[in-house]
Symmetry: C2
DNA sequence: AAAGGAAATAATTTCGAGATTTCTTGCGAA
DNA sequence: TTCGCAAGAAATCTCGAAATTATTTCCTTT
């Protein structure tokens, strides 16, 4: 099923895809308070569609983690807890490292070129954002380029399924992040971190790439409450030999 | 959003959850041919609900990978290709090994007891199935015990998200398997394979547990067409250091 | 004043008909 | 025979009202 598809139509067109994208963007921008109800009737009026259509859109959002659904109790904005955040991060690191490993093994020069291009666009906006007055104005385009870079990184992994799952995790992560930190999740350090991921990928070093990916998300540990020990990212204890014996495509 | 919830009501009750469970079981049992259409109107009549309700159920199925959805073209049973199968397997091995690793690190004696209990039930039905005349009759209960064992294995991992994702993958895998092999995916070897996973988990050996999990799915390689090199399970090339530095809960 | 419960209010969920789109069938031309 | 096209058939999608369920309000009782 098509999920999180690209924005297509103009602002007045209100088909399901458009509404889905608009609400998901508003959610990812933190417009709705965490824990508040997504009133189907209010949204229905706002977008000028019927309750059934609105309900379908809300179900799609719920499936991708943008909303919580309880029978007979409607839809709510998920509470942005640090526990949930660390769970999403954990899965992102696991899938993104694996996807990068496979892409490094499978990717051709065309993949390298696309990755370079995606990083160039991302770095451009991020450097500008470091000195920008109003971050808010750049968040939408930054989110898009950020996603395109991470998507391209794993685009040669050979698994459509991995890419779909990672896409859901990316936007879920973004929504939670916006609810927990300031500046919409942008930090000046992200520039260097994305560069480190790019370099490791282009040098075909999966171990270093995985380490760079892990480091990219490690800033969350500084926000973690003392005493709330969770799925942290530091202090190795056990190596995961899960995919040790996995051949790659082609 | 409640997904794949337990079977609740009697056969005559036709609320959404019941219909969802019934259709998903029929799909997992291979009742509908892969690639065929899931006609909303036929199903609607069969379950005695309106088209809107039926549509909602079908969306839920699509969201969990049981059906494919295309706008204006309705719902279809996903084609059971070996490529898709190997992708799902790949994700299952990745997530299940990681979940087992975390459970081994976090799980207490109560977890060990639950795992033992789940395996006992699974082994009982599997031993019986090795000599059973009509496998068909045991598939539903076997599927349930099989799931409960794999679920319990990762139940102490500390990540609700990982468990949800794994649940979706389990039933997706089962559906694809039924479409590709005989005997509904049951092999006599599964008895020993599940035992190996259990032993490694109880001995708190994550590496051996991951290896046992991998081996549990390796039979697919024998079915793989020569020349169709895919996300196979043999022939290590690169180790995945993705989660090397991941602390565990508690 | 606090607690319990019933009525009023507000939300979700279901329904079936109508509008829209896609698929099928049959006819005619190359 | 093969291809294109148009008319008919069949399916999906949207809609708004009705039914169901949850929530709030307010009155009664302790």
């Amino acid at each position: 099923m098509a999920i999180l598809e690209e924005r297509l139509a103009g602002p007045e067109a209100s088909d399901q895809g458009t509404i889905y994208n608009d609400i998901s963007e508003r959610l990812a921008a933190g417009e709705f308070a965490a824990g508040s109800r997504l009133k189907a009737d209010d949204l229905r009026r706002h977008y000028g569609v019927s309750s059934s259509t609105m309900r379908e859109v809300l179900f799609r959002l719920a499936h991708n983690g943008f909303a919580d659904f309880e029978e007979q109790r409607g839809f709510r904005v998920p509470a942005a807890s640090m526990e949930r955040m660390l769970e999403v991060r954990h899965m992102r690191i696991l899938l993104e490292s694996e996807g990068a490993r496979l892409s490094i093994a499978n990717g051709d020069m065309e993949w390298e070129a696309r990755l370079n291009a995606a990083h160039h666009k991302l770095a451009h906006i991020e450097v500008k954002m470091r000195t920008a007055e109003r971050l808010r104005e750049h968040i939408a385009i930054w989110t898009r380029f950020d996603w395109e870079f991470h998507e391209t990184l794993v685009s040669a992994c050979g698994s459509q399924l991995l890419q779909e799952m990672l896409k859901g995790l990316f936007f879920r992560y973004r929504q939670l992040l916006v609810g927990l930190v300031t500046n919409y999740g942008f930090r000046s350090g992200t520039v260097d971190e994305h560069k480190a991921i790019l370099d490791a990928a282009l040098e075909r070093d999966p171990a270093r790439c995985a380490e760079a990916i892990r480091y990219h998300y490690s800033f969350l540990d500084d926000l973690d409450q003392p005493g709330v020990t969770s799925l942290g990212v530091a202090n190795q204890e056990v190596a995961n030999p899960a995919m040790a014996g996995t051949r790659v495509l082609k």
